[in-house]
Amino acid sequence: MRDLIGRLVPTQAGLGYIVLVATAAAYLIVYTSSLGRFPTSFDYLSILNTMLPLVFVAIGQSLVVLTGGIDLSVGGIVSLCVAVTATTVTGTGIAPFGWLIVVLVLGAACGAINGVIVAAGRIAPILATLATLSIFTGLALWVLPVPGGSIPSVVRNVLSNPNVPTGLIWLGVAIGGWLVLRRTRFGMRIYAVGSDETSARAVGVPAGRVKLGVYALSGLCGALASVFYVSTTTAGDANAGAPFILTSIASVVVGGVAFTGGRGSALGAVAGAVALTLVIDVLFFAGIDPLYQSLFQGLFLVVAVLLGTVATLVARRRRAAA
């Protein structure tokens, strides 16, 4: 009997999928009951294109959280890369894609700076990335003082085509990238450092290098998010990154990645990010008074996190009983 109950309650890692499935079901229900028809390809496409930036930032954030850290500077990195993308990526044919690579390198470099401060400087990640957040945001304002800029339509057609779901390809690439990464030596070391850094060091895991790598990857993910952001909105804004700080952390939490590090998966964070995007739509079609929307978004987070805690407790008790 106990075994059955244990099996019905999700483990923390599975939480993100449960929340996602529940939110997706809720979306389909409120949408059809509100409009009397199923969502159209326009709805799916616009959801896909709007959520991609958050999905990328959430993957980066989850890597950092898996090592027991946190990256507040994603907001600044996204802002800076959005500003650079909107001002520099021009031209036709192949040229814009060359510039996109420059932006990705810039993002990774920004992340690597965080990594150096955290790993070599031994400064708490929350402090280090809070400081770099301000620096990157300031640089973004310097690059693009007033919202504007543009993106060549060739980039838009390839990245977030408003008529063809090209975004699915990139979503697949991101998920595939994670599935490969976690089977590499580097991927296993991320978990090792997050579970117990001291033991990991004792068995010869270069914890500093792993951290440097994770923050650089988080920066790279931030840059990818920026590219998709500019591609979707067709322009830049030096304040674009700010909302991603909290939403990426929320995605990681909903996705069941443990803040103590070592437990969870980037896929969970992806599920969390999609769920968070869908919640906006659920509230919209449920006809919730706009004044209370942020209240309900908060409640959603609390419930999701509570579910995670309950799941962990049950799992622990199950393990103790076994």
């Binding site: 199923f38 159209t40 979707t232 909302p243 919209f284």
Partner: protein, 367 residues
Amino acid sequence: MNLHRYGRLLVAAVALAVVAACGSPASETPATQAAGTGKLKIALSNSFIGNQWRVEMENVFKAACAMPPYVDQVECSVFNAGNDVSTQSRQISNLISQGVDGIVINAASTSGLNGVVQQACDRGIVVVSFDNTVDAACGLTVNTDQVKFGQQLAQFIVDELNGQGKVIMVTGVAGTGADNDRNKGAMEVFAANPGIEIVATYSGMWDSATAQRATSGQLPSLPKIDGVWVSGGTDGVIKAFSAAKRPMPVVGGEAENGFRKYMAGILTPKVNGMSIGQPPFLSVISLELARGVIKKEHPKESITIPFPVVTSDTLVPGETVFPDLPDSFFADFTDSGPNATVILCQQAATDGTPCPGKTLDVNFGKR
């Protein structure tokens, strides 16, 4: 292997959604459904709702929707997104799916909504943005001329002082378009009048408390001041002069109810001044423009409306200054005078309830 089990669930859900999508292929053109039959659907998509101005702006919109002619012609809805571009973008996408006829926007970012606004335009939805407008070329805008704001207040001060005197300028939040434009307009006028000497320029951050603190700090080192030009937080500046027992200068400032109370002599000392503001009823003008364009009663073009202006001599309690409302209230939620753009009552701005027995008449005409 819990992960895989949930993974399979996920795949199932996605498959379900895709099947659902394929099951309803013919409903790609939702925008035109409501047109012609019954009421027009017009939605207000606002970014954040964290200050007095935004609250009044939404209240007058709701009030207008409950008054003729809108109550019979338009079905309104209101959405707030916070300062998050992706949330506002999702909401506008959903409005497109809902098949609204018009969307009225105060944007979280002037550039961040270009993509989704273009999609709305492509589906024949009339998009009107105001205050913080959207760049997308296909959308219409309703706004005021901020350079003129600076010029008009400065010209008033120059005229009242007969072109001679010492003036201070209290500016707004640096780095914003409106602050730049307002200051530019004022500087033009002051520079053209060599008898005017600007003895101090500092920021009041468009906030009464900040403006009062900054002014109190500056006053001891300043000579007798003849005129004050204020971009925002005007009542704070007056309170600082009053507290320092300085003679009251001529004041050109924003539309805070507190400032107008001083101008009307409801608060003492009585101030000689001119009050201009970014009117919260821009939302109502945008509603009218959207309605008119959809019904083909207006040409499809953007509008710049004149600022509602009052001076100490033209103030009327209950119409342009409100003795029982707080100082922080923006008293320009309604226009006044024979050529008024739109006239609204007090409860429209405070509660969002309709003005009893009134038909709204919006006048786009130039003064």
